[in-house]
């Protein structure tokens, strides 16, 4: 028997990639196993999680789309069979290329200013690891709308992504778990969503004695490993976070317990704030002023004469305030340091107040605050690789639904301020960013630290100034127009308000360019008819799309509406080189960085084609081959240019024809290895096929932004959000100049010191909007992460269901046992879950670890077309959740939270 072990990477979840080997016997893949070859480099010993063990079944699943197919039934609808007819690849590519050519002839942008070509990739953050060179094709194409959402972006850690990068280059935020002593986790479910490296780090830390307090409405997988569970009321996390700030700043001597030096030197705490709410600035240099207690006068923050900046008090000082659109106002008045305003701001948020809001006892809040301060070890230091850092082993983590939708900004701000108070921001033991997606360079976030205004980091924001604001949306979710913090990186379209296209196509708001459906919509590894809110509405919109080309693994609820199905070459069937290592979300902290390969492990069992070959072929058929190869030469999609200071493996301008996938990736392999070694090492594709991955060391000091901030003399833009306030005022002015008022509620979020609003009431309000009363819907339906299913595109695999059934919550709805008894609901009973706008149903799973006012449905199901998944009978929050502007926050996100009624059927 011929047996071999073929190295590949697994990036089925955003916490990857991890590395594995596929066991192939006599040309048949029979299993996967950890990659021991990289045990020394991989932070979790080269292991892979449960999802990777489903890859072989994914490869051989008989329910796959096996060949290209085209629709024969022109009528689109859930009840209308598409009438798929098998066609050849040549006909399929001709069909798609023909549509694309017609776009180029008609003009790339339609009469409303939107790109005629739209592309949606699913599984936020994962798709690039499976895209081959499709990104290079899109770069060669020109304007493409990548903002038609599939739930990615708006259902992610949205506020954390946008504000996290703004404050500390943290697209996601992690604890420095190996050096942390206490974690206060508000719904962070890292043992389900943190991937292999997350689980590994947490396990090591628990054995070491890490204290982990889990505050969430039901006991998640992560709560099982926690030292304490605090069943907090949904969407009230900000209240408890504010109360923690209150205890530290008002019930304790903040001068004794806080890291005053950090606050003074590393934050804007001393910056003086004028009566208009903007920083008081030097009239000439416009530098923010601080009050020097030694000299008894205001000085620019960076004036070396300033020896003792004030953090509290009020002072009479003169200067200018610069508001929206550069409006300068001369001030000679009483001004106060930002820190003093912070203290005043949180004075109202006592633990007793928070207890009433969040159902968390005041004594618990005080105890957690005390533990936080005790473990913060203010003053302690630690040496790492010869560099001495502050050591602050405390972290506050936030989970999904906490970090997105209304209240997300408030939670993220309070969490980051809590870190700043004790100096636990971007230092060993504290909270750290993982990666950057809005800032550049993308490969290392420390290199993205550049001096910006007012002593802070530079942060690119979408313009709001009168002469630079982009009032006409360039894509259908209008992220440049409506969301300054979304920036304009390649990731921004997915991080804009990606559900707005679905909303606005159906219901165009006033003073807004008529939303159009794209002429061609290409989708890959995504199923928005399941993963968006209000799935019925999405399907009704899909019926109107004139041409959908779907890369398809199986039939599913979105590609049911497609015109062309292109069978997907899955994880183990296609070729790609991808960056691994360094620091990455969710908790990937490596001591190496490098590249790993994904490669076909067997001959394809179906008539599939590598996505790189498809991209190349499309480029050739629509006359873009030269531009496509130029894009590959630049590194579009592959992230490594084929020409650098020490290498040149570019495609020549006049190439002999479309290159093969192997030719392209061979060049990428060689450029990638050269780029990591200053040209010293070059490995080709054949080498990667054998060895799997190539690494160079990545110093641990690159984990901590602190070093870069100190080296550049920069401060964190905390606690006062002057720039946010100004940007919000400018955006408000721009929208009002256009007569737009439907975004007014979102504009209220741009507060310099975010405060409590009754966030749950915003969702409860959906009842009144539907002509019902909130009292009719006394429960909250929430979602929670399943490690077996999150991001995996694997709901059609029965082996995953086989093992997932062991974890409570699969496949039904979790209810509090005592409450269920009162409703006459027994284990396994079929229950209906009704919201003001929809209904779903599922089997009751009774648990003690669920708040009495909460029901929990894992992940996103509700399938009716996907093979096997449609038999699971899993309730879906998305079927009952509204897609509603009123539930959309200023960053353009919402949250998985629905007021519902529950009854036995």
């Amino acid at each position: 028997m011929a047996s071999e072990r073929i190295p590949v990477y697994c990036y089925q979840c955003v916490a990857g990639p991890d590395l594995l080997k596929v066991v192939v016997e006599d040309g048949v893949a029979v299993g996967v196993e950890p990659n021991d070859d990289v045990a020394a480099e991989h932070p979790a010993g080269g292991k892979v999680c449960v999802r990777a063990y489903g890859l072989v079944q994914k490869l051989y699943n008989p329910a796959r789309i096996r060949t290209p197919m085209k629709r024969t039934n022109p009528r689109k609808g859930r009840g209308d069979d598409p009438g798929w007819a098998p066609i050849s690849w040549d006909e399929a590519l001709d069909l798609l290329a023909g549509r694309l050519t017609r776009i180029r002839e008609a003009g790339l942008v339609d009469e409303s200013g939107y790109p005629r070509l739209a592309v949606t990739f699913g599984s936020g953050g994962i798709a690039p690891a499976y895209l081959g060179t499709m990104a290079a094709f899109l770069a060669a194409w020109g304007p493409v709308d990548q903002g038609i959402g599939s739930g990615q972006g708006v259902k992610c850690y949205h506020s954390e992504h946008l504000y996290g990068e703004f404050w500390h280059r943290a697209f996601t935020v992690a604890a420095d778990t190996p050096r942390c002593e206490l974690v206060l986790s508000f719904g962070y479910n890292g043992d389900a969503s943190g991937g292999v490296t997350g689980v590994w780090r947490h396990a090591e830390a628990r054995v070491r004695g890490l204290q982990w307090v889990q505050l969430e409405p039901h006991q998640s997988v992560t709560a099982a490993g926690a030292t304490e569970w605090v069943p907090i009321r949904p969407k009230t996390d900000a209240a408890v976070l504010f109360a923690l700030l209150h205890v530290i700043l008002h019930e304790r001597d903040w001068r004794a317990v806080c890291d005053v030096d950090f606050l003074t030197r590393m934050t804007a705490s001393p910056y003086l704030v004028g009566p208009g709410g903007y920083y008081l600035r030097d009239p000439e240099t416009r530098a923010p002023l601080v009050w020097d207690l030694d000299r008894g006068r205001a000085l620019p923050f960076d004036d070396p004469r300033c020896t003792r900046p004030a953090l509290e008090g009020g002072y009479i000082a003169a200067g200018v305030e610069v508001g929206a659109d550069g409006a300068a106002r001369t001030v000679a008045d009483r001004v106060r340091p930002a820190f003093a305003l912070l203290r005043e701001h949180v004075r109202r948020y006592s633990p007793e107040w928070a207890a009433g809001v969040a159902d968390v006892p005041a004594a618990t809040i005080r105890r957690l605050a005390a533990a936080y301060l005790e473990h913060a070890r203010v003053g302690a230091t630690i040496e790492i690789d010869g560099v001495r850092y502050p050591h602050r082993p405390v972290a506050v983590l936030l989970g999904k639904t906490v970090t997105n939708g209304w209240g997300g900004y408030e939670c993220c701000w309070a969490r980051t301020v809590l870190a700043a108070l004790v100096g636990a921001l971007e230092v060993p033991g504290g909270i750290l960013g993982t990666t950057v997606r809005l800032n550049r360079p993308a490969q290392n976030r420390l290199d993205a630290v550049r001096p910006g205004p007012d002593g802070f980091m530079e942060q690119p924001l979408n313009a709001t100034a009168r002469d630079r604001w982009q009032g006409a949306p360039h894509v259908r979710n209008a992220y440049r127009t409506l969301v300054p913090l979304a920036d304009d990186s390649p990731w921004s379209a997915a991080l804009g308000p990606a559900h707005l296209p679905w909303l606005f196509m159906d219901d165009t708001p006033a003073q807004w360019p008529a939303p159009t459906v794209p002429d061609v919509w290409i989708i890959y590894r995504t199923n928005p008819a399941i993963s968006n809110w209000d799935t019925g509405r999405v399907e009704r919109m899909l019926e109107r799309f004139p041409f959908i080309a779907a890369f398809a693994y199986t039939q599913d609820e979105t590609n049911w509406y497609a015109d062309l199905l292109l069978p997907e070459a899955t994880d183990l069937e296609s070729l790609q080189l991808y960056r691994v290592g360094g620091t990455k979300y969710i908790e990937q902290y490596w001591r190496h960085t490098g590249w790993a390969i994904r490669q076909p492990v067997v001959a394809p069992p179906n008539d599939t084609r590598d996505l790189t070959d498809i991209a190349t072929e499309l480029a050739a058929r629509v006359g873009l081959l030269d531009r496509y190869l130029e894009a590959i030469n630049r590194g579009a999609g592959t992230t490594v240019p084929l020409k650098g200071p020490d290498w040149d493996v570019t495609f020549p301008a006049a190439t002999s024809g479309p290159p093969t996938s192997e030719d392209i990736w061979d060049r990428v392999c060689r450029a990638a290895t050269r780029s990591l070694t200053a040209g010293a090492v070059e490995h080709d594709l054949a080498w990667f096929r054998r060895h799997g991955a190539f690494f160079v060391p990545f110093p641990e000091t690159r984990y901590y932004l602190h070093g870069a901030m100190v080296a550049r003399g920069l401060r964190y833009e905390l606690p006062y959000q002057e720039r946010i306030m100004r940007v919000g005022a400018e955006l408000a002015a721009r929208l009002r100049e256009r007569g737009i008022t439907w975004w007014d509620a979102q504009l209220d979020e741009y507060q310099p010191l975010p405060g409590w609003r009754d966030f749950p009431a915003i969702w409860r309000g959906t009842a009144s909007a539907a002509g019902r009363t909130p009292a009719e819907f006394p429960f909250w339906l929430l979602t929670s992460r399943s490690m077996q299913y999150s991001w995996g595109s694997n709901v059609s695999l029965p082996i995953l269901a086989d093992v997932a059934r062991n974890v409570r919550g699969h496949f039904g709805v979790m209810l509090n046992r005592g409450v269920a008894r009162g409703l006459g609901i027994a284990e396994g009973d079929l229950v209906e879950i009704a919201s003001p706008t929809g209904r779903t149903r599922g089997r009751a799973i009774l648990r003690e670890g669920v708040r009495p006012d909460v029901a929990v449905a894992l992940q996103q199901f509700g399938h009716w077309a996907t093979p096997f998944a449609r038999e699971l009978g899993m309730p879906s929050l998305n079927e009952v959740a509204s897609m509603d502007l009123a539930l959309t926050d200023a960053t353009g996100s919402g949250a998985d939270l629905v007021p519902v009624a529950i009854r036995r059927m």
Partner: protein, 211 residues
């Protein structure tokens, strides 16, 4: 020599990676799991703990499943591994009834996951397991093959049960309970590892660390 296992529950997150890795290693049919991680609750709201508890054959030193077998198919090796000689098993189920840990699985129909076997299922098929009792073998083939190659079970992955190799929390240690220097013996000797339901008197070879 007595092979044993120590499962550190502090490290387990119930991910079922061990479950699926075991299924793959032994080509178990749909619905059959020689090991799984139970998702348990202790207490009542709000004073409740969620606990993940990996369950499998305990490879008891005094296994009740062996003497009750009418055909002698249920056997115990000198190294403690309890196993089934499929050719001698008639599938009567006495052993399953006797096992206090519900760790035996009678496979009547080695069904695949789909209407027809996939290529991987066909290549891995184990027809000798039809209509007989099956159970965790401590991956004795891996252990034996590894030892023949000079590897150390519990240290070298190729000689270690697949559940321990795959576990992403590092929760599963394997080794020789008779070797005081082995990782499992050290953990047991430290007094922090205890068997499940010792009152059954079967002297399990699988221990758990709880706190």
């Amino acid at each position: 020599m007595r092979w044993g296992m120590v499962v550190d529950l502090r490290r387990c997150v119930g991910c079922q990676t061990c479950t699926i890795a075991c299924k793959q290693e032994h080509a178990l049919p749909a619905g059959t799991q020689w090991r799984f991680v139970a998702d348990c609750e202790v207490g009542e709201y709000p004073d409740v703990r969620r606990v993940f508890l990996p369950m499998q054959c305990m490879h008891c030193a005094e296994p009740p499943c062996v003497p009750v077998c009418p055909t002698g198919a249920s056997r115990q090796r000198e190294d403690g591994i309890v196993w089934v000689e499929y050719g001698a098993c008639v599938g009567c189920g006495y052993c399953a009834v006797s096992c206090p840990y519900h760790a035996r699985h009678l496979v009547h129909d080695a069904a695949g996951y789909f209407d027809r076997p996939t290529p991987s299922e066909a290549a891995s098929a184990r027809p000798e397991r039809h209509d007989v009792m099956t159970k965790c073998t401590f991956c004795k083939e891996r252990v034996d093959r590894g030892r023949q190659e000079g590897l150390v079970p519990g240290v070298d992955a190729a000689a270690t049960p697949m559940c321990a190799v795959a576990c992403i929390g590092g929760a599963i240690a394997f080794g020789d309970l008779d070797d005081p220097a082995s990782p499992v013996s050290v953990l047991v000797a430290a007094g922090r590892a205890a068997p499940l339901m010792p009152e059954c008197g079967t002297r399990p070879s699988v221990y758990y660390i709880v706190e």
